[in-house]
Symmetry: C2
Subunit: 409 residues, 2 copies
Amino acid sequence: MALVNEHLLKLPNNHFLLNMEKKINTFKVTHPKAHLISLGTGDVTRPLPQASIDAMHKAIDEMGCIDSFHGYAPEQGYSFLTEAILKHDYAARGVSLEPGEIFINDGTKREVGDIGDLLRHDNSIGVTTPICPIYIVANVTYGRAGTPQPDGTWSNVVYLPCLPENNFIPQIPSQRIDIIYLSFPNNPTGAVITKNELKKWVNYAIANDTLIMYDAAYEAYIQDPDLPHSIYEIKGAKKVAIEFRSFSKTAGFTGVRCGYTVIPKELTAGTLAGQRISLNELWKRRIAARNNGVSYITQRAAEAIYSPEGKKQIKETIAYYMHNAQILKEGLSHAGLQIYGGEHAPYLWIRIPERTTAWKFFEQLLYEAQTIVTPGTGFGPEGENYIRLSTFAKYEECQEAVRRIRKCI
Amino acid sequence: MALVNEHLLKLPNNHFLLNMEKKINTFKVTHPKAHLISLGTGDVTRPLPQASIDAMHKAIDEMGCIDSFHGYAPEQGYSFLTEAILKHDYAARGVSLEPGEIFINDGTKREVGDIGDLLRHDNSIGVTTPICPIYIVANVTYGRAGTPQPDGTWSNVVYLPCLPENNFIPQIPSQRIDIIYLSFPNNPTGAVITKNELKKWVNYAIANDTLIMYDAAYEAYIQDPDLPHSIYEIKGAKKVAIEFRSFSKTAGFTGVRCGYTVIPKELTAGTLAGQRISLNELWKRRIAARNNGVSYITQRAAEAIYSPEGKKQIKETIAYYMHNAQILKEGLSHAGLQIYGGEHAPYLWIRIPERTTAWKFFEQLLYEAQTIVTPGTGFGPEGENYIRLSTFAKYEECQEAVRRIRKCI
């Protein structure tokens, strides 16, 4: 008899999102004429940059001619894209990386999970909390997260609380943890980390032989030039960190699928016998064995965002979303809500009024302001007293949402 | 200290392909003026069907407008594509499947590996041999293949020889095996399986509670209407088989990346405690947790191959490659070589002359016929006396290759 991987049975059955959908659908059925505004989704809404559109049209025509047709892509990505990344995302910020350290992929959610193949099932895991669930579920498949507890936590995961008291930057843990997930700008809190704070984490990782998984998917939203976009802006980080970058939120690629992973050649992890293994080499072997590269057309679309026009266009889109953030933050602050984030990230993390719960406040906003938000509990127990607003709606909708929410609270 | 997954260290380091590349490069350096013909690659060369080109241009324009923009795709795929698949690939052959049983993915190589997440690390594995290496390496990551042996086999894998004596259709094993990989039309042998033969496998699987992984990536090359394109043409197969399909060789999508997996709702595997688990449900949970869908543009390209123009165009391309197969098969048979395959598959499996080895014959053809082929050893020890020719080159090159090879042997 073929036996299933029983770790997978522990995966959350999407209860949270299904519950949210169910409540929204109930509202829609009972209020067929209502115009709902969604500030709940983490998905973008603005069109792709014209530079990417143009590049894809061109790439497609190439695929229609025998002399310019492209078959299997190089597993690690085309050099035209890798070179653009090295130059614009890293060299421009003083970080020197080699082409062989960049791995083009079809998006961070999948990659964060797949990269777990590199690691033993019994490494200990540390995550910030509240947390985007992908970092934990990525580890469930391998049994690495342990078992789910009645309070919604996992037995083998160390939680590092991010609270207003610590400015949503977790304290350095007192114990050793094998693998730590960090993500700044953060989803859902919108928090950013300074170079000084990030340095403490790199030093911790060096001292404890910890592997940092650094998700910088929202780095393009950083407004302050002094804040780090990459963990490699910190000395020594190449020895301890893998970095994930995505074109999803930078260039509206959620429906196109492209991102990349940086695995520096200096980065190693150990075998039980104490041998040090290059994770770059090991990942190369893993993708050669299991992957077949990312669409040529998609990689050309990604390359185009580094052109002068592309850069300008993505800057405009990000400015649009950040203007939304400002409208929402200002408008709702005036309504007396305590709001975090929204300055270097497309998310607002909002403390809900006392004597209510995240789900109750969600329902209040749904029924009284006809506005969809995300209850903080979707990001773990630490989110119980919060809701998350995303800033990916239309500008006019954000304005209207402010009006409606102010009226109802 | 973060510990690596030591199973990955057992992955073959691409020695075979690197060795092949090295020998070819040596030839090129010493023969700078030679015009090499490649019959070695499994990659396609004909342009994409015009229907897909047109569909992608349209889809890209949609992505450039706010009102027709598409963000995250449904994890399981867009219904426009799923419906086209159900209608044209299954209903047309009398197979009834539901939309929820189709999972759109970005290619079979990756999917065959990922699907292994569903299964315990200690299931036993059976593969046909010679074999395309992806089925085995897919299991190495999980430790399921066991350890590599000096003769190139893996300790936990049962090998089912495919030889001229059995028409390259393996014998039903005498022992129980938990998971068996079958692929017809076959790479590298080009063999096909009849409904009667396939029925024996389905019956074996039902009797032994075996899970069949059926790779039908080359079904579009089948010329005989009586041969099965899908394992579900056999009664009872929905209880025991997962099927993989790919647009890579059907429509030239190797550089576009799209395929699909069928996991019937009736299909189950067990827990240690004996509970039956729906693999369809479990895979749904796995992809909801770890994937973010396939590019909208790519899915529109795939949908277009089911249009009347698309169907006509892919038929023409396949006819082109099959004409190449005919040229090569006829021409080289006349040279006295024993040739298998090439009738319902884009591969010829050629018995090498006596008193030579696959690598020696490879070198002879490289130096004397300036033609690249693949030594059969790339498909396991069973390939020692064979070379594989693919039929994806230009027609004129196939003609010329025949001339050159006939001259040199």
